[in-house]
Symmetry: C2
């Protein structure tokens, strides 16, 4: 069974959380919009062509035979048991999904640092608001979120992952968040990282996993850029207090 992922071809974006799970597990998949059909493939699936059930609102979209689903955390909850990247029990599954949705909230706040007014406007049209929002993000939200995940790690007796006894999709997602935050806010991250050693260590362990290491070294891993969620704008590279 080959999974089909539909996501914008030029960015890591939200699709990257799905790619990391598929790559870590060595699951067969096609990144459809990076093939010859391009973004028309995304438009086709958003229109609901070729399948029953609710169409997706936005990519990323996962197609698994007749199953067509969107929303990162939902896709990962679907893939988790199939890729052995989630706890098997019902309570553990919902703990993982809770954490993934908290990652999603953090990712949305990062997105809104450069798009605080509207996704329909260019960054250049909301730079004043972006700077103000970023001041608050690096001043309080960043440390609050990373400190939360540090606390979650410290409470897990198993120690090396956020939930359960094995590394799962939410650990892969936290790796991606740390990598993205380092790209977007290098000064703020340099200031915060010493207070979240378990988060940093988890990032390093995930990066060293065979499937992830191979992926990161491959051309399938796109570089961060200023079209994605994590963007490096010098004027937004602030630290708390600025």
């Amino acid at each position: 069974m080959t999974y089909e992922l539909f996501y914008w071809p030029g960015i890591q974006g939200r699709g990257e959380f799905i790619r990391l799970a598929l790559e870590d597990a060595g699951a067969p998949y096609v990144d459809v919009a990076r093939g010859p059909e391009g973004v028309k493939a995304i438009q086709r699936v958003l229109r609901g062509e070729g399948f029953d059930g609710p169409p997706p609102f936005a990519p990323p979209v996962l197609v698994d035979g007749p199953v067509v689903i969107a929303q990162v955390a939902n896709i990962l909850d679907y893939l988790g048991p199939r890729l052995e990247l989630a706890p098997k029990d019902d309570a553990g599954r919902h703990q993982a999904l809770m954490l993934q949705l908290t990652v999603a909230d953090l990712v949305s706040e990062v997105h809104d640092t450069h798009h605080p007014v509207s996704v329909g406007l260019y960054y250049d049209d909301q730079k004043v608001e972006a700077r103000r929002r970023t001041t608050h993000f690096v001043g309080s939200r960043l440390a609050k979120y990373l400190g939360y995940f540090e606390r979650v790690l410290s409470r897990n007796a198993a120690g090396a992952q956020l939930v359960g006894e094995h590394v799962g999709y939410v650990d892969l997602s936290l790796f991606q968040v740390v990598a993205g935050l380092r790209y977007a806010f290098p000064r703020a991250m340099a200031a915060v990282e010493p207070s979240v050693p378990r988060v940093v260590a988890l990032h390093d362990r995930v990066a060293a996993r065979p499937g992830i290491a191979a992926y990161l070294a491959s051309p399938r891993r796109l570089a961060f850029n200023e079209l994605g969620i994590f963007r490096r704008y010098p004027e937004l590279d602030l630290v708390a207090g600025e």
Copy 2:
């Protein structure tokens, strides 16, 4: 088994999506922070006292014996099969969760109309940005989201709900969104509603369900107010083009 819900006692907020599911099903539950312990109960559960596993980042939190989980969509995915408010098959479950997470995205965008810069600032400190963000919300996002749910309803052969063959938690949530949007943006909703008749009809059907009708008439249903997600500020009661 009595469920325990932990949420801010003075607002509908995100907790309301959980309350509606519990009330529709007639499930036994305690709205803990509206009892004598007040918000200290929320602080206790956020600190992770009295249970194992990851603590929640923020309310609403559901406690079901040893299971402690947060995030609205996650809680509803957990309750869905238990309250018979979700499809039973795995594909249907993930279709419902996809739709709920799209509701959550809409709710976050509504929240950010009055808090575009920071949750740590008062509305009065971000009124200029709030007006600009609201202009874009009522100008494009509102119709895009409601039009999406209209399309989802039109594709479901069963006709009367968003997914599957029975009304589920996501239908209850869409009811709440329509009610909240009518409160916050009465002029924009009056302009949009004629183009989404299935969404409006679903709202009305949900409001008439016995459990929901009894709840809405009870003192347990708090009124909308300017501390919640859906707020009525005259200066933000805009329509597309303003």
